[in-house]
């Protein structure tokens, strides 16, 4: 297929791998920020193709994974109400809350529907005026313009029975938080290609400068990832820390200004709790006061919920790149996609689920490329 096959070409891929092999002189730890990138890496076996000096660790960029348990439980409390049609992106349905997931609630009679776009949720609201239609507005900056547009249109068209449960998160504060951690091992980043399509990459420049880390904004096809790794290793080997753009066919330095403007009209920046990571200041979006009539948290007044996380789950450490999925004693045994203990096992973009889906739990330890790297001690 045009514009896809070119980026999945074996011959070119081998050339880039050869080039990485040629220039690398010592071990480096590179984090791919996005869950979509993790997915590509594991799906195409890229981590097995690159030289052993380069260790890829998986970042926090899976919005489904980092949505806090409190927020999931709030979603469940709202979805259980008989007057509600609860709409969500597909992979949110299997995320375990304190008591089951949305699929189980659906089997018990809750009206829960998968949509591909928040605009579809708006259509459902228009078609069902006697129901309260709620959209679970999660995601990074990538989904924010679409979600903002749905709220904007709802107000403009006077669709009063439409609201959003907002749990938006932002990438730059998460990267900064990883770099500030005393346990940080990450030396370079593959930056989030689709987030930067919307936001541009100016806001990454001060981070690269402050922490002396190269950040290469990278796409999602196998050759994008390999080229992103090559560009990062080139910088690391040369002692540079620039923000570079591997994904210029989509990403511009200033991003999509119209989308940014819309997001700014509807959302404001606030603190946000990340599942497994904790609260990060100024790391999320919330609805502006003018749009309060479409804010599900206000409308349904769900009280504070007492949440329970399984003690054994290390998803927080996986999300920060401190641990790999198979460092977890529960990986592939107690915890699997049929019975996930933590969110990184649920979404296809979660590192644990990607490892599981592509059979890493079936491999002998000596077959795991990651086994060649020493695992760091677990932080307290």
């Amino acid at each position: 297929m045009k514009y896809l096959d070119e980026y999945r070409n074996e011959e070119l891929a081998q050339k880039v791998v050869g080039e990485i092999r040629r220039i690398v002189t010592k071990p480096w730890v590179v984090m791919e920020v996005c869950g979509g990138q993790t997915h590509t890496i594991v799906k195409y076996g890229i981590d097995h193709m690159i030289p052993p000096e380069v260790e890829l660790v998986h970042g926090p960029g899976c919005p489904v994974c980092v949505t806090s348990l409190e927020m999931i439980d709030k979603a469940h409390a709202i979805a259980r109400r008989p007057d509600v049609v609860f709409t969500s992106f597909g992979d949110m349905l299997r995320v375990p809350g304190s008591d089951g997931d949305l699929l189980v609630l659906k089997s018990r009679g809750a009206d829960i529907r998968v949509v591909y776009s928040p605009i579809d949720a708006l259509k459902i609201a228009r078609a069902n005026p006697d129901k309260k239609v709620v959209f679970f507005a999660i995601g990074f900056e990538t989904t924010a313009p679409g979600n903002a547009m749905a709220v904007f249109q709802a107000r403009k068209q006077g669709i009063k029975n439409f609201s959003v449960l907002v749990s938006h998160v932002l990438v730059p504060p998460a990267i900064a938080s990883i770099l500030q951690s005393p346990f940080n091992r990450v030396q370079g980043f593959l930056g989030p290609g689709h987030v930067c399509t919307v936001m541009g990459y100016r806001e990454y420049e001060p981070i690269a400068e402050r922490f002396h880390v190269p950040i290469v904004i990278t796409g999602f096809e196998p050759l994008d990832i390999l080229q992103g790794v090559l560009m990062t290793i080139q910088q690391l080997e040369q002692g540079k820390w620039d923000v570079e753009n591997q994904y210029p066919r989509v990403v511009k330095r200033e991003g999509n200004l119209m989308a940014q403007d819309l997001v700014d009209q509807v959302f404001e920046i606030g603190d946000r709790k990340w599942r497994g990571v904790g609260s990060i200041p100024k790391s999320g979006y919330k609805l502006r006061y003018e749009f309060r009539d479409h804010d599900a948290e206000r409308i349904f007044e769900v009280e504070e919920i007492d949440t329970k996380e399984p003690e054994i789950c290390i998803s927080g450490l996986v999300l920060r790149g401190v641990k790999k999925p198979h460092d977890c004693p529960a990986f592939g045994t107690l915890c699997n996609p049929e019975h996930p203990l933590g969110a990184t096992m649920v979404s296809a973009e979660g590192a644990c689920a990607a490892y599981y889906a592509y059979g890493r739990h079936l491999q002998q330890p000596n077959q795991r490329s990651e086994a060649k790297h020493k695992t760091v001690e677990e932080p307290v």
Partner: protein, 344 residues
């Protein structure tokens, strides 16, 4: 039966994923159903059971159809119901002879729709050369079913010398796929409520019995046949690997897929290896017969795009690996539930 404790399961209710053809479906059957009826015909969990009656080897199979919408590009629920059981019998190496049909109709369903479906079944049965010889009809209250559900069962005769079973896959065998994958699933997706997108993709639903006859005439030593319906190519091959305790290695670049289906899968974030097919089969064939079988398939209109997509190996027994397009390797595992679209 009433005193038997319910086996421990992760779910207290049936969820949709129990019907997806992946791991939860497998667990539901293995944990709840099989232990109650344990017998040597049931336990291989093949597409049908094969047994002898007065010297004749018969295959017996059943399948239920709940597809929504009931009319879709390339077919309807009636045609699918006939093809489904014809194909399950064919995957036993049998020549399908007789079908039954059970209808569960929702009160209020249009008589016109029912008529269209029944006539479509007549045409499909005629094409496949099977007779519908018995049936049943029930009507339920509005809302207790979704327009129309159909169950079909069928009986066929297994010719002498044919011995097809998932457990017979042997190291060195070649895996042949009869054509482009993921067509049926994407045709259904394209007309599903709330997801309509413009495409020319029409379901590949077709009776595979004549294709199987051609293959068996050319290569009677075929080891396994499987139609990769629910759960797609991946689930079918994983089941074969598990049953035969062998590994299967695929080559992604060799798997036939149309540009349109590939595009639709990309847009919707679905992996075509897990998407349903209704007119395709997988054949596991000894290496020495592979080219004969492949040629026989390619001559037949339903197998014109057939390709050898992989082989049976001694490494990694019970799971399927794939050389990816860019030259990496990964495991291809069964899905645990429904394939859910990803957010980004």
């Amino acid at each position: 039966m009433g005193s038997c404790p319910i086996p421990i399961s992760d779910y207290r209710e049936i969820v949709l994923a129990h019907g997806s053809g992946g791991k939860l479906s497998q667990q539901l059957i293995q944990k709840i159903v099989v232990p109650q009826f344990r017998n040597e015909l049931l336990e291989p969990l093949h597409d049908g059971a094969i047994f002898s009656v007065n010297g004749a080897r018969l295959a017996f199979s059943t399948d239920s159809f709940v597809v929504s919408p009931i009319f879709f590009p390339g077919g309807d629920i009636g045609k699918l119901a006939v093809h489904g059981t014809v194909n399950d019998l064919s995957m036993c190496g049998a020549r399908p002879l007789y079908l039954s049909a059970g209808f569960i109709l929702e009160e209020g369903t249009s008589m016109e729709d029912f008529w269209r479906i029944v006539t479509s079944m007549r045409v499909a049965a005629g094409e496949a050369g099977v007779a519908l010889v018995t049936g049943d009809t029930k009507v339920v209250d509005r809302g207790k079913a979704d327009k129309i559900f159909i169950n079909t069962s069928g009986i066929g005769v297994v010719p002498d010398g044919v011995d097809i079973a998932p457990g017979r896959a042997r190291v060195g065998d070649k895996v042949i796929l009869s054509g482009e994958i993921a067509v049926h699933g994407m045709a259904i997706m394209s007309v599903r409520e709330g997801l309509e997108f413009e495409t020319q993709i029409a379901s590949d639903t077709a009776p595979l019995n004549r294709l199987v006859e051609s293959i068996l005439a050319a290569a009677p030593d075929v080891h396994v046949l499987r139609d990769p319906t629910r759960g797609g190519v991946t689930s079918a091959l994983t089941e074969i690997a598990q049953t035969a305790k062998v590994g299967i290695r695929l080559n992604e670049a060799k798997i036939p897929i149309s540009e349109e289906v590939k595009g639709a899968c990309e847009i919707l974030g679905l992996d075509p290896l897990y998407v349903a097919n209704e007119g395709k089969l997988l054949a596991v064939v000894p290496a020495e017969s592979a080219s004969t079988a492949l040629t026989a398939m390619r001559i037949h209109p339903l197998g014109s795009n057939a390709a050898i997509i992989g082989e049976v190996v001694a490494d990694h027994p019970e799971f399927v690996t794939m050389k990816t397009r860019v030259g990496g390797t990964r495991v291809v595992d069964m899905l645990s539930g429904e394939q859910l679209p990803r957010i980004c």
